[in-house]
Symmetry: C2
Subunit: 362 residues, 2 copies
């Protein structure tokens, strides 16, 4: 069972190719990465995004650095620079650091750098595919149970941002249970939060749900609370860029507001994550997770396909002189999270829950 | 003390003029209303918006209908049609019905229809100006107290949508205390929620704060929770389209999410309103206030000034086939509201609080 379509792959000449996610949904454009600087830029400018895909791109960035180092007969400083640059490409997603650490460990033990980098990056990608598939296997019974309780009526699922296959390699985290439910014939409908300012919901989640034939409705980020108050949401499921030992969840800005509304209306709020997203070194997400602040023009301008002639353009939505602030993420305290859905099963969002499933983190 | 600039006024030939608020902030264009159908359309298509301004426009719509009836020697059916059409122009804002009822009562007692309609609509407008000024007088001490507690440091105020002068005639409801604080030399900074899908925050609130020289930052609707978690908001203040006897507050979609975040972070959440916005006939806002559902293209498209050439255009932000749902308002339960700020003073958001200030509603 596979979705075939992937977000990162190798070319015949052993370089790396990704989809330029900034151009979805209107254009599907692939971008070839031939150096670690290409990979760094792709992460920085959000050509690729989503914690697992950022990790995979960074891993292949190291492979590209090793290749360049060997081809140009550079010394080890070049590789150190590559690690440093990729490590600084984005601050919040933990998978980035995890993938780089893993590449470093593998290379430290290796004699054949090129072969090792190639194999290790490939493993990171293949493991993510299997991890996401298993998140679906464990998340599916939650959707099935709601469907049964509703006697086969449509299960309404709200999500924020894109923690779909586009944020991963295949399957996605939050979309994996949804796709598997759909394949089993369970009726699902997804409320897609637009996810300002970069619109990953309207651009990416709506795109991949359309591609998979999943019924969905686009809503602005303001709408979820109203829907929950009126019984129009059966469950919320979101991804995460970093989850702490205590179960605090950093995710796209606005996630916290949906978690509050879910709590206020007794609606279960799930977080789907590969264990690579756990940051067991920290406890208090609010105090310890750095929150990226991005360019104010992401808020002041809005990009899309022009009504007048179909060209892609951006429009200014405020007075010329108005400044904006643009925080990329927020932290949802563990007390608002019903459960974490991981590749090893479902657990409570706390240290005990996490270490029961992952005793190696005890 | 006056702001001079108004949102609705009379022309020399005794017709009505309003600002086309759909074209702000990039263009200031006035629209002349010469019939009740013009007024109806201006309310429907949101040329004018904001509960008090909708009421005033409807009142002048009746004046225009009376004038047309007399000039064209039509019978009373024409006036009945005007009342009916204006009553159905938008469902949520209570001021619309209040203004129409008041015009009806005045006309029922009148011998000179034209004179009565003219005077009564004028009174509604002038009373709103004074009401909004008094909301500022009563709200100002709240801002002053925070400023004092912070030893003169900037008071950070978050607002959603536009309950500014642009939603009223002059002063505005939530902006009246802010403008009066600014005039007194108190340092204020406003977090302006963009307010998707129609961007009344980025288009209108940012515009009028700029015009009044008030320091402000535009944020996406997702950001408020994060700011509150990090002590960057001292108070929230919003307007309302209808507030019930129990103190439940209907306001722009997304208000409820901000109220939840304020509660979760012990930040006071105020609602500023003229008493004309109270609907004392109903108690349970969630069950009894009809929530307008608007055209899905307001969500699917985004309007602004083109980056490429400065023309106004709209851009599609989702796949062509993706549907959207577009609820205009939500209801914030009274339990989340710290207090109501009215023209007669500040009260708790419940029947006792309201009827203490407005014993005529007991």
């Amino acid at each position: 069972m596979s979705n075939k379509f992937r977000t990162i792959w190798l070319t015949e000449d052993k370089y790396v190719e990704v989809i330029d996610q900034r151009r979805l949904p209107h254009n599907v454009v692939n971008v070839k990465l031939t150096s670690y600087k290409d990979a760094e830029l792709a992460i920085k400018n959000m050509t690729v995004r989503g914690a697992p895909l950022i990790g995979a791109t960074a891993a292949y960035g190291i492979y590209l650095a090793v290749r360049e180092m060997i081809e140009k007969q550079l010394d080890g400083n070049f590789l150190d620079e590559a690690f440093e640059a990729l490590r600084n490409s984005r601050p919040t997603a933990i998978n980035l650091f995890w993938a780089l650490d893993r590449m470093k460990k593998a290379l430290d033990l290796s004699e054949d750098f090129l072969q090792t980098a190639w194999i290790e990056a490939g493993k990171i990608v293949e493991e993510d595919v299997e991890t996401c598939r298993m998140i679906g296997v464990h998340g599916l019974p939650i959707i099935e149970a709601i469907s049964k309780r509703k006697k086969g009526e449509v299960v309404n699922i709200l999500t924020h941002c894109n923690a779909g296959m586009l944020g991963c390699i295949e399957w996605g985290t939050i979309t994996s249970p949804i796709y598997q439910a759909h394949q089993k014939g369970i009726k699902v409908h997804v409320w897609v939060d637009e996810t300002r300012p970069r619109n990953q919901g309207s651009n990416l989640t709506a795109y991949e749900l359309t591609r998979h034939g999943i019924d969905h409705s686009l809503i602005v980020d303001n709408t979820g609370g109203h829907l929950m108050q009126h019984g129009m949401v059966d469950m919320v499921i979101v991804g995460t860029d970093r989850t702490t030992r205590n179960g605090d969840v950093a995710n796209k800005i606005g996630t916290y507001l949906k978690a509050l509304a879910a709590k206020d209306n007794n609606i279960p709020f799930y977080v789907a994550l590969p264990s690579t997203t756990l940051d067991m070194r920290i406890r208090d997400g609010l105090k310890e997770i750095p929150i990226e602040e991005r360019d104010q023009d992401e808020v002041r301008y809005f990009e899309g396909k022009r009504f007048s002639d179909g060209e892609i353009d951006r429009v200014l939505i405020c007075p010329e002189t108005t400044k904006a602030r643009n925080y990329g993420f927020d932290v949802t305290p563990a007390r608002l999270v019903t459960a974490l859905i991981t590749e090893r099963g479902v657990c409570e969002a706390n240290e005990e829950g996490i270490t029961n499933l992952f005793p190696e983190y005890k």
